[in-house]
Amino acid sequence: MATPIIEAEGLGVRFVRNRRRQLRIREMFIHRGGRQPNPGEFWPLRDVNFAINPGDAIGIIGRNGTGKSTLLRLIAGVLIPDEGKITVRGRVAPLLELSAGFSNDLTGRENVHLVGSLHGLSSNFLKKTFDEIVDFAGDQVSKAIDTPVRHYSSGMKVRLGFSVIAQLSHPILLVDEVMAVGDAEFRKKCYATIERLLAEGRTLVLVSHNEGDLTRFCNRGLYFNAGKLMTDGSVQDALDAYNAVVRA
């Protein structure tokens, strides 16, 4: 069997509600032996174990606030766990907040180059695929490509962001509800792209509440509740477990 591309062992993250800042700083520097449990402390994720193989398409299911997005941030490497560890073997293309990397004062063109390069695309590759990226984002965007992103609608930013990230050759795709934004036409394009990327053998981790999307793409489902991994099985198993709780 292949080595897992994403592996979580006893993974846990602790957040602190209403923490008092000064106190916290002092704690950082002075290690006390037994830490007293803080009443505001909670674990959005704890004791999570799973292994994802290359080429898998994983659907993450759970109610709001059960640590789904936190898990994606851990996989993306933009959050550091407090317990256990997460191993990610390969680069990650995050389709999380698609417009996040854009600088509002730069034009669409400059932003494509900036965000693309920050994600590791070479400038030659970007020059070659630039037209393709802009075409994919649609008419509205290609007309406005030389105006500052500040004047774009939020839908336009998301489209442009998706177009750039769709060009990445990274083996792992993280998708968090991007399909919920954008109109029907763009959604269709997104579906086609994700299917193409899956066919290339990429690994997908998808967070969604849409059963249609989940059953369409995923071959495995993880159901989370209150920060714990409850079900790890087929998408249907996970959805059943989720529905049993939600509809009860």
Partner: protein, 272 residues
């Protein structure tokens, strides 16, 4: 520590991109472009020249030494170096808080954000160098001599000092937003605690207790500023003790700042 230095090196492209982006954003929409980075320090220098060069200028007890006849050059050299320090420290403080959305979605070594601010402002400092050279020629203080080596040494030390402070301030500011407010006062104090508008000799000859003078020299910017002055006035080259203190404290700040940044990183990422 070494592994995090390695990751920073692997992220040098991202660092360059962010610096270029900051500069592009800053100068794109202004008509005068990069000239603005010169106009402001020159304006400030003109004010100090008027007050301390013209109004308070009595010549004999200004302790300017070699710089007695070229006070504007002395002043502008200091102000240019100070502008870099001032802007870098100010902007680095908000480097993480101001780019939270980028940091929470993209995996790059987080150190690039504060360090980028230091380097971006260094680019502006470089843009001002031709002005300094022209002034030095006008005042006849440009000597092609070993003393020119004081410039790279000063730049190196200032980079070390600023990088350490930037790492420290940016990460602390996420957890304690008061840092940003304190910085405004802190920077003003630091400006007057550095020999920019007055020469160091004036402090050394001032009527104050010896320990106060020692404390004064603990500010690494004192030694760094004297190195800048030494480019034109070799007699101002810092003494071995002062240079040692400057190097020691700058390096300690870099190591300490790096350590604090690494230590606070998990908490910073949760807080952003």
């Amino acid at each position: 520590m070494t592994s995090s230095v390695m990751t920073l090196w692997e992220n040098r492209n991202a660092l360059g991109l962010l610096v270029r982006r900051d500069l592009a954003v800053k100068y794109q929409q202004s008509l005068l472009g990069y000239l603005w980075s010169l106009i402001e320090p020159l304006g400030v220098a003109a004010i100090y020249w008027f007050v301390f060069g013209v109004l308070y200028g009595t010549g004999s007890d200004r302790h300017l030494g070699d710089a007695n006849n070229s006070y504007p050059l002395f002043l502008i050299t200091g102000i240019f170096a100070w502008s870099w320090a001032n802007a870098a420290m100010g902007e680095a403080t908000s480097a993480l808080t101001g780019q939270a959305r980028l940091i929470t979605t993209m995996k790059v070594a987080r150190q690039v954000f504060p360090i980028g601010r230091v380097l971006g402002r260094f680019a502006e400092f470089l843009a001002g160098l031709p002005i300094l050279i022209i002034l030095a020629i006008v005042f006849g203080e440009l000597h092609f001599d070993w003393q020119l080596l004081a410039l790279p040494l000063a730049v190196l030390l200032q980079t070390v000092f600023l990088t350490g402070l930037a790492l420290l301030l940016s990460s602390l500011n996420v957890l304690l937003r008061d840092v940003e407010k304190l910085m405004r006062l802190g920077l003003r104090v630091l400006f007057y605690a550095t020999p920019i508008i007055y020469p160091l000799a004036m402090v050394q000859n001032a009527n104050m207790p010896g320990w106060a003078k020692d404390v004064y020299e603990l500010n690494p910017l004192v030694g760094i500023m004297e190195l800048y002055h030494a480019i034109w006035y070799p007699e101002m080259f810092p003494s071995a003790t002062l240079l040692g203190i400057t190097v020691g404290i700058s390096v300690a700040l870099l190591v300490g700042g790096w350590w604090v940044f690494r230590r606070l990183e998990p908490a910073v990422l949760k807080e952003l």
